[in-house]
Homo-oligomer: 209 residues x 3
């Protein structure tokens, strides 16, 4: 394992995603094991679903470091739990950075598996956003990204920019940077200016059927 | 892509299933993105789980039209939301037709993958009924098909008739039609005459353990 | 299918796991079909997720007996529902035995698929514990194993002992027995003496974000 810049960012994103899961688990009074599982699901759940859809075994089964980073995140919350709340903004930035990188990873792994660009864009979003959906199902809440904020859509925007960059022929590194940066920027702007998608109306009295 | 009769029915079913998910999402005040995801999960979730169990990548990754149809369903609800409620019966028919066709598709794909008939019957049911289960998990409700109506069981009935037809040697088209028709009929009869399976009793004070 | 001792234990575990799911389903007033699905998910859900992650089709698609045993469990609850509650302790023992055996099965299938020991230990836990998580998601409750008791951790302990036995070179049968016994023992001791993992504290006012 070479420790290059991408690897560092990857672990930062994993750590931030895991913290997000572990904090919500603690609010539900999960025990340490439950908190670890929810943290891991948040951090690696999206990539797991992506890999299974692409026809691979999940990436973390070939590389224990992701589960180790999740363990460190648990240790961090156990030791510094009361301070973690104050670090909200820090973790928000980490989370956005992770989202941007996860999107790039998802896109490129799908293209490597010979799927077309539109599948790769979806898989970039799956990699970034599905972990949070699994987290919310585990804590028995309606998935947050279905109701609030621009989150998964930021991954889609990044995916389109990836396609655009590839089409006009920017270099590979530039394409990656532009994609990740656009995802991060979308998140920051959406949260700062409270930009949300419209809520779907008109069926308030509709029930399960 | 040849636009034959089966393809048309397939899209009608996908549209009806997607509408069912999007309507429930709107009742939970999901935003447009959340509504789209719940619609897509309802429409293609069953086939996705089937394909993964059979060892394939999900079918919609090879054919963008299913996601396009889901997008049209979302557009339809956004534009005509207030009228959609009045169309309950229309959508119920579409949903039943979709269920019948999805069952046939699931059975045949499983047989093509060399699984025995009993697996194919289960996969017919998975294709038809699991999308609704994922939908209900996403909107944080107990899956409806576990408590009410003959739904998944209609797929099982259709599966047995498929087996019977193959055994007595009706033609392939006839087998498909009889299977789909029997599923649709089961649904119509069950809903019209309020036929349900018995509720399991006797453990009311049982708790999670 | 040879009916040897392992097979018998396997079916006993499947039966006990299925009963656990069916009982909870009955408390939620599921119908017979819903109860069957929740029972099956509890019994074979863990192995299904394990097989998909390892790159196989789920084991029960090659061997109908698991679904038959689940059917017998449903029949048992339908016929003897009122007595099932009194058999709590019996089912607890069966469940623990099943957990021990499922752990061994999960470990060995992962090693056969050429994954390293740490993945096998995780897959032993997945095989034993994930069925209960799916069960709790289906009945719309927070998964019990995230909050209470030593359960998944017992599988991990068993996994480490498997590794230890393999390293020191005990025979294969001895390794299996020690692993299963340690899982069962952990469960019995944890429940008898109310041993739990600590609850994660410090973020009570944390919300979904």
């Amino acid at each position: 394992m070479s420790i290059d810049f991408t690897t560092v960012i990857d672990y930062v994103g994993t750590f931030a995603f895991a913290i997000s899961g572990i904090r919500l688990a603690s609010a539900k009074r999960f025990d340490w094991f439950g908190a670890y599982v929810v943290g891991a699901a948040t951090a690696i759940g999206g990539g797991t679903i992506r890999d299974i859809m692409l026809g691979y075994s999940p990436f973390w089964m070939y590389q224990p470091s992701y589960l180790v980073v999740t363990g460190l995140a648990l240790l961090f919350v156990i030791c510094f739990g009361r301070y973690v709340i104050r670090l909200n903004n820090t973790f928000f930035i980490f989370d956005a950075i992770g989202l941007g990188l996860f999107t790039v990873v998802g896109i490129e792994k799908s293209l490597d598996a010979s799927f077309p660009m539109w599948v790769a864009i979806i898989m970039g979003m799956v990699t970034g956003a599905v972990g949070g959906v699994i987290r919310d199902i585990f804590i028995n809440e309606v998935p947050l990204i279905f109701r609030k904020d621009i989150y998964a859509l930021a991954c889609i925007v990044g995916g389109f920019l990836y396609y655009l960059c590839e089409t006009v022929g920017t270099g590979h590194i530039a394409t990656q940077l532009i994609t990740a940066a656009s995802v991060i920027l979308c998140r920051l702007v959406a949260v700062k200016y409270h930009i949300s998608l419209p809520v779907l109306k008109g069926n308030e009295d509709c029930q399960q059927q």
